[in-house]
Subunit: 397 residues, 2 copies
């Protein structure tokens, strides 16, 4: 199969959008990506859109159709992917396949979501539908509950007292908010930049042991990419970023995970698949954007992807090993916690943020130096229901 | 790219399922398809599931995850496609690409939906979300309304008085109910087998000029297929059916169609794409399963796919040209009207029905003789938002 390059990226500000629908947000990000790539609408051969619950958010199913129409792209094939929070990563993986196979040369892919109009109670309830409707939702489980359980199990399994673990978790929040505060596209731009561990520990309890500052916010926003067959990428850009490998793994009802809840096989399998495809190992990856929907989520993601031994990432975060200058700089965009989490847009946003790092275009203070050669994203949908990973590089394999 | 074969099919009865969830219905169809193919779970490399609104139907988003888990397929990549009524055709088209590209050898694909627990008012309201949420839904438009407009425009455009057109439309209902009554998998098995044109005209008015018998029912059900690289298909079956070509086209808000509402460009583009890929023309296709959600839908589908001149299919239906022995036998399964329409399952069901015809396994009275060599499906999601077509053959290209 052919190599595939990212030749353009677009990204709305994440946060509260009162005046645009999810379709309009997608169009804004997509037009930016097309302009960035120097691609005209008539060159786009297909559209791939990730969106988790646009029907609940705005009463719009088949959102891909109206994104296509809004952009004036004619009758080109256009497909919606729903994989909860991993919706647009799955869309990117699929778009990659259609270009890699030789079927299309230039396609547009991204994600969009408008969550805030629902309000927190309805948003919490609707997003919980990404868990098992028969066993988990009736038990009253929501996503803060899932990651509270993750923290409790992590504490017990690795013998880290919960109060100690909470401090380590708080470092995730502090670092990601610090990065988000420097990112003009972030929901918390210029906010929470000087958060302290004590602030996180002392903020309002949401679901023991998670406080409000352990949680990512609900957000509105969109992100988009133009993908192109690698051999044609130089026609459009001097700074292509290549998709070196993708992975996707599937979970199930949480009850089936048992003790593996903190090392979900769906993540391990997907990350390994993406790395294997790329011919790389964790030691070869220079930056990460990963799914920190709650602080313990970042810790177990670092381990599940193979960047730290089981039970060691909480210490590593506290030691600054995932900050700039550390072993593996992570979530320089602010991550879900600092940048925001417009569900279906998050995966595409993660890839956009890696591309900007690889172009040396990340915000001052967040740019890794020297400009990274490789990077990887991790996106999780549901309670480890869908994991998807993308490995990116400035050079072809 | 490689040729791809269908080596197994599975299909629940369509109708009212009180005792199974959409996940369980999918598992039933999938296990049938795997047994039919002689494929074990460990051989399945990926799962592709079409489902339109499982979150509204049963509070289950990410239904693909729980289908994978229910089937014990481990962590294999599993993706949900939402394209309203075309959800599973889009899933099949995508699954085909992943096998054709060489990435996977054996995959499982299908669709599932449980609509009836919602009841007609909620189902009508939720499915209307596949139209444009900003302009069409607030105008009060529902799908019966869309096809009432289609009938009115067809009458006006081609100068066929509405009362005459209603009689021609009624022939669609009579034929498809007659076929459905012979199909044990159909919702209306052994019902409405001897319907008369007068019965259709005289049944309860739903949306002028459409009566109840001009409309397909809401249904629960699932259908699934096992796809395999063609070169390996003979290992599993003596009767592979090959996917010769697929197509997909995109519409938009109906207002943008204008006079083209009765010849939607999304269908024309998609059907041509599928036929071109297969190297065939309409004259080469021997049977059809197409999207007769309402009687005028069948008429305009026959024209949009290129089987009759614009404005001529209504007469053709009345003349028996789409019945067995006619120019192009259509919807021998009963179609959506006679077999039922579990939204996300319909596309996969259409392909299953063509495969059974090509194996000579269709129900007595519905089997085309001699056994057809080629066939084609047409599935429409939303108000022509997504059209997708699949061309099938007993021989490789």
């Amino acid at each position: 199969m052919r190599d595939v390059a990212i030749i353009g990226v677009g990204h709305t500000k994440f946060g509260k959008w009162e005046t645009k629908t999810a379709v309009e947000l997608f169009a804004e990000a997509a037009l930016q990506a097309m302009e960035d790539a120097g691609v005209e609408g008539k060159e786009i051969e297909a559209l791939f859109v990730g969106s988790a619950l646009p029907d609940f958010g705005e009463g719009q199913a088949m959102i891909n159709v109206h994104c296509t129409s809004e952009l004036g792209l004619g009758q080109i094939p256009s497909t919606r992917f729903e994989g909860a929070c991993a919706s647009s990563t799955v869309a990117i993986r699929d778009a990659h396949m259609w270009v890699a196979s030789g079927e299309f040369d230039v396609v547009l892919v991204g994600g969009t979501e408008r969550v805030l109009p629902m309000g927190t109670p309805l948003a919490t309830r609707t997003f919980a539908m990404a868990m098992h409707a028969v066993s988990e939702v009736p038990a009253g489980l929501t996503f803060p509950g899932v990651f509270a359980l993750v923290a409790m199990l992590y504490s017990k399994t690795y013998g880290i007292p919960l109060e100690k673990l909470r401090e380590k978790m708080a470092h995730v929040s502090v670092q990601n908010h610090r990065h988000g505060a420097l990112n003009p596209l972030a929901q918390f731009y210029r906010k929470y930049g000087d958060l302290k561990v004590e602030d996180v520990l002392g903020s309002r309890m949401v679901c023991d042991p998670l406080t409000l500052l352990d949680c990512c916010p609900f957000s509105d926003g969109a992100a988009a990419l133009v993908l192109c067959a690698a051999e044609k990428a130089r026609k459009y850009t001097d700074t292509p970023v290549y998709i070196l490998g993708t992975g996707q793994g599937t979970g199930g009802a949480m009850g089936r995970f048992g003790e593996e809840l903190i090392r979900p096989p769906s993540r391990v399998m997907s990350a390994r698949m993406a790395l294997k495809k790329s011919g790389l190992e964790p030691k070869d990856i220079q930056i990460l954007e990963l799914h920190d929907c709650f602080t313990p989520a970042e810790i177990i993601a670092l381990e599940g992807m193979g960047f730290f031994e089981w039970g060691k990432a909480a210490d590593a975060v506290e030691d600054g090993q995932v900050d700039i200058g550390g072993k593996i700089p992570t979530n320089m965009s602010g991550g879900l916690i600092g940048k925001g989490h417009p569900i279906g847009a998050t995966g595409a946003s993660q890839v956009c943020m890696i591309v900007e790092q690889m172009r040396g275009n990340a915000p001052k203070g967040n740019q890794v130096d020297p400009v990274p050669e490789t990077g990887m994203t991790d996106t999780m949908g549901g309670s480890f229901g869908t994991l998807s990973h993308i490995v990116l590089g400035r050079s072809r394999r």
